[in-house]
C-alpha cells in the first residue's frame, strides 16, 4: 500500500508540471509598466475596467492569466502610441462584445437601465405633487364649511 502511494505521488509529480505548461505572454508590456507615469496611469485605469476573458470575474489588471498579460500589453502599447482609452475599449468591444468592458455602455439594449430611474423620479414627483395639492383642497373645503361639523 505504501509503495503504491509512493508510486502514485511520483507519477503526479512527474506529469502535473508537463500538463500545465502554458507559456507566459512574450508581449513586451505584459509585466512591464510604461516609462511615462502619466500614460501608465491612463493605461492602468483602463485595465481595471476590462474583463479578463479567461478568469471572467477579474479585471486584466488583477489577473495573472497569460491572455490577460497579452491584453495588458495591447492596452499599454496602444496608449503609448497615442490612442485614447475609449478607442481601445471600442476596439475590444468590436471583437468581444460589451461583455469585455466593466464600464456600462449606453446602447440600444441598455438605455432603459439609465432611463427608468429618471422616469421613476418623475412619476414620484407627479404623484407627490398631486397628493399634496389634493390635501390642501380637502383642507380648504373643511375650512370653508366649519358649520358642517356641528
Amino acid at each position: 500500500m505504501k509503495r503504491l502511494l509512493l508510486a502514485l505521488t511520483a507519477l503526479f509529480a512527474l506529469t502535473a508540471p508537463a500538463l500545465a505548461q502554458q507559456e507566459q505572454s512574450t508581449a513586451p508590456y505584459a509585466y512591464r509598466q510604461l516609462d511615462d507615469p502619466a500614460k501608465e496611469r491612463t493605461a492602468k485605469a483602463l485595465m481595471e475596467t476590462l474583463r479578463c476573458l479567461q478568469c471572467q470575474g477579474q479585471s486584466i489588471a488583477d489577473s495573472d492569466a497569460p491572455i490577460a498579460g497579452s491584453m495588458r500589453s495591447l492596452v499599454r502599447e496602444r496608449i503609448a502610441a497615442g490612442e485614447t482609452p475609449e478607442q481601445i475599449r471600442a476596439w475590444l468591444i468590436e471583437r468581444y462584445g460589451d461583455y469585455v468592458s466593466y464600464a456600462p455602455q449606453l446602447t440600444e439594449l441598455t438605455w432603459p437601465l439609465f432611463a427608468v430611474p429618471l422616469v421613476f423620479l418623475l412619476v414620484a414627483f407627479l404623484l407627490l405633487r398631486r397628493r399634496f395639492t389634493l390635501r390642501r383642497d380637502a383642507l380648504d373645503v373643511a375650512g370653508d364649511a366649519p358649520g358642517d361639523e356641528a
Binding site: 507566459q24 512574450t26 468591444i93 361639523e149
Partner: protein
C-alpha cells in the same frame, strides 16, 4: 352624519380599488424576472463579434523552422479555410486532434495559429498528435488572438474564399460535430 361627510371628502383622495394591487403586481413581476435569471443555466462562452466580418489582416512568422508562417492574405484565395487556434499546452487540443486529422484527410485546408507556445513543445505536440496544418503561424505575444476576438484555445474559424469569417467554433471539435463543420465549410464554399 359626520362619518358620512368624512367618507365623501376622502373618496376623492383614495385611489381606485385595483391600483392598490399595482405595487404587489410589480413586485411579483420583479421576483419572477429574478427567478428566471437564477434558474436559467448561465452561458459564459465569449463569442467573437467578428462572425460575418472580414478576417483582420495579420502576418505571423513561422512557428517551426522550415515551415510557412501564416498571413491573412492566404485566406482570400477563393477557397474556404479552417483557421485553428491551438497550443501544445492545451488539453482539449489533444482531444480534437483526430477530428482535425480527419478533416485534413478530406482535403480541407487547415491553417494553424499557435498561441503563446515554444518550438520544442509544439514539435513534441505535433509528433504525438499528428500535424494536419498547411501553415502554422506563431502568435507568441497573443496579439493576433485578441485581434480575432478569440478568448481561449482551441477555437476554430471557418473563413470563406473572400476572407470573411463565417463561423466560429469555441472549444474542441468533437467527433459528433464533424458533419456540422463539413456542412458549414460547404456553405462557406458556395
Amino acid at each position: 352624519m359626520s362619518d358620512k361627510a368624512m367618507s365623501e371628502t376622502s373618496a376623492g383622495v383614495r385611489p381606485r380599488r385595483w391600483t392598490i394591487w399595482l405595487p404587489l403586481g410589480v413586485f411579483a413581476a420583479f421576483v419572477a424576472l429574478v427567478l428566471i435569471g437564477l434558474l436559467r443555466p448561465a452561458d459564459h462562452t465569449v463569442r467573437s463579434a467578428l462572425v460575418g466580418k472580414p478576417m483582420p489582416t495579420f502576418d505571423l512568422p513561422p512557428a517551426l523552422p522550415g515551415r510557412d508562417g501564416l498571413a491573412s492574405a492566404v485566406l482570400t484565395n477563393g477557397k474556404p479555410h479552417l483557421v485553428n487556434i491551438f497550443a501544445s499546452w492545451c488539453i482539449p487540443c489533444r482531444v480534437e486532434a483526430p477530428q482535425l486529422a480527419e478533416l485534413a484527410k478530406a482535403g480541407v485546408p487547415i491553417e494553424g495559429i499557435s498561441v503563446r507556445d515554444s518550438k520544442d513543445n509544439l514539435l513534441a505536440f505535433l509528433q504525438e498528435n499528428g500535424d494536419p496544418y498547411q501553415r502554422i503561424g506563431a502568435d507568441d505575444d497573443g496579439q493576433v488572438q485578441l485581434a480575432l476576438g478569440s478568448s481561449g484555445v482551441p477555437e476554430t474559424y471557418i473563413v470563406d474564399g473572400k476572407g470573411v469569417i463565417r463561423y466560429q467554433h469555441v472549444g474542441e471539435i468533437r467527433a459528433d460535430q464533424l458533419a456540422m463543420i463539413l456542412q458549414k465549410l460547404d456553405e462557406a464554399g458556395r
